[in-house]
């Protein structure tokens, strides 16, 4: 079967709405997931992340709107090439790790021989090679998580949707997971993953989607989101005490810790004037705008 994807592939969530009874869980949400890029999906509990992912996978139907891959509506055949790790983990407890990964590969359309070959290779890579013949329930929780990762990846999916892939992983397993995700993006796969660990998302992802109350509050690549949400905020480090900033015109001091200060400037005020004033008082070790962290942006947009 020819590959569905290339580096310019876009999985597009287009004006999707969904209600459960009277409760609107998703209100007309739209965002792209671009091929070759890691897209982080963040939002509070109950914001609609899992519902969105289930709709992308076709486990749940959208009331209105659709999800497309390069403009084509998703069919069962296309979705079969997706990889999915649901929020609630689960495999067959009494089946061996090897057998169930092979089984899931077969359900995704792999031939028996292909499924066997890829399972062996993948379990090896995830550090489960020696455990492959054991029943899942005999494995430690961390290793069960790795088996879950294998289950999502065995068919070398061309679109990856992972709900909280890092939760419950030990630091070593996190690194393995990151490696695997980067591998997939290098092959042009659009990867969407949700996480509550904002520092991790900030470190990993190329694009961001922020959802709150069933609405997309922000979406785009991380750098431009940071720029959009940047306030005229600066930090300054000098050798002596920086308390004089308190009385400097145009400056609102936010945080002062001896020689280190964080402050906002009035709109239009020239930052270089503050730098000059500091240099007149002694050496300046660092000076520059403060880029808002993801958690700051998150707090601001969901407010």
């Amino acid at each position: 079967m020819p590959s569905l994807i290339n580096m310019t592939t876009v999985l597009n969530v287009d004006s999707v709405s969904r209600s459960f009874g009277d409760r609107a869980v998703l209100r007309n949400i739209s965002f792209p997931v671009t091929g070759g890029r890691l897209t982080g999906f963040v939002g509070a509990n109950g914001a609609g992340k899992t519902t969105t992912m289930r709709i992308i996978l076709g486990v749940l139907a959208a009331d209105t709107g659709e999800v497309t891959l390069d403009g084509r509506p998703l069919t069962r055949a296309i979705r079969q090439r997706f990889g999915y790790m649901p929020e609630e983990r689960g495999l067959y407890p009494t089946m061996t790790v090897h057998d169930q990964v092979v089984y899931l590969g077969r359900l995704h359309g792999l031939s028996s021989a292909d499924a066997e070959r890829r399972t062996t290779r993948l379990l090896e890579r995830l550090g489960l090679g020696e455990r492959a013949g054991e029943k899942l329930e005999k494995l430690s929780l961390g290793n069960q998580q790795r088996a879950q990762v294998a289950a999502a990846l065995v068919h070398e999916p061309e679109v990856l949707v992972l709900d909280e892939p890092f939760s419950g992983l030990d630091p070593l397993a996190v690194e393995v997971m990151v490696d695997v995700l980067r591998d997939r993006t290098a092959a042009g796969v659009p990867v969407l993953f949700s996480s509550h660990q904002l520092e991790l998302v900030e470190r990993l992802c190329d694009d961001l989607v922020i959802i709150a109350d069933g609405e997309i509050r922000a979406a785009g690549d991380r750098a431009s989101l940071s720029a959009q949400h940047a306030v005229p905020r600066y930090q300054l480090r000098v050798d002596a005490d920086a308390g004089w900033l308190r009385d400097h015109p145009g400056v609102t001091l936010l945080d002062l810790d001896g020689p280190h200060a964080v402050f906002d400037l009035e709109a239009g005020f020239d930052d270089q004037k503050v730098l000059h004033a500091a240099l007149e008082r002694g050496p300046v070790r660092s000076f520059g705008p403060v880029v808002p962290s993801l958690s700051e942006i998150f707090r601001e947009v969901v407010r």
């Binding site: 486990v59 139907a61 979705r79 999915y84 649901p86 609630e88 077969r106 359900l107």
Partner: protein, 356 residues
Amino acid sequence: MSTYAAAKVVAAREIKVRLRDKTFLFSTAFFLLFAIGVTVLPAIFAGGPSSVAVADRATAAILQQGDFDVRVVADDAAAEKLVRDGDVDAAVLAGPEVIALDDRPGEVVSALSTAPPVRLLDPGTVDPFLAYIVPFALAFVFFMTSFLFGLQISQSVTEEKQTRIVEILVASVPTRALLAGKVAALGLLAFTQVALIAIVTLVGARLAGLDSGVLSLLEPTIGWFVAFFLIGFLMLAALWAGVGALASRPEDLNGVSQPVQMAVMLPFFAVIFLAENPLAMTILSYVPFSAPIAMPTRIFQGNAAAWEPFVALLIMAVTAVGLLAAGARVYEGSLLRTNGKTSWATAWRSRTTTAG
């Protein structure tokens, strides 16, 4: 991958798992022993021909014409000694006088007497033991097998819900493929078990030397039973899957599956208690749930016309199509609801997954 191909992969896994599970192997072994017991034991209990010791040559000649193991001895004293030692069942002494230890040897007596001819107006073709045991055995095999394998469909569905793997499965293949795979796998195993029992019973009956009159009734009975079993099992299979999906945990399964359990249990008791009542049996043999037991029983009793099993089977097939659709709808409506038990009504109304 087509729904059919996916269903085959699902069915292959189910069969592999069940064959490793002891339940299937034990229940098959148990039923085979049961089948051998029912057919072979009566022949063993009946024993061989009675042995008779006799001194008088003329009497010996008469007895040899009957079905006796005749031992010609020197005199009456020797004959009596053989009886006392338990070497023969009876002896005929001069007189003639028949002796035995503690059991009146009726057959020997009638062989030596001139009885008036007897004409039965309504001859019973079947031995009373068989007349009782055959309906019971049919009911028992249907009840146990259908219950055992039906419950395994439910358990397999509940397991997938409880472990949450169902979400991955539903994201990969259509729910219909999951359902069809399970029903096909357990249907095949159940059918294999019943067919094995049927073959062993028929072979056993021949080896045990049942008379040809009984065999000519038993063979169509068992043949039809296998066909009725297959349709009867499929009829309830999707409902078993449906109740499995209504429960989120194995603990809930017993409660939610009550209605389906009743559909298997009530016909069992009805046929056992009403086997001797021709009107009730005629009705039961057309009710889809009891037909798999009642119709073969009537065939065995020689009370069913040749066309009757076809009509009953057709009624069952139509019911099966309806119940398969209903079971599939309940299954699909509740499969992804993982918060506690789902009610029949909720499952019936909701279709959570996308089509296609």
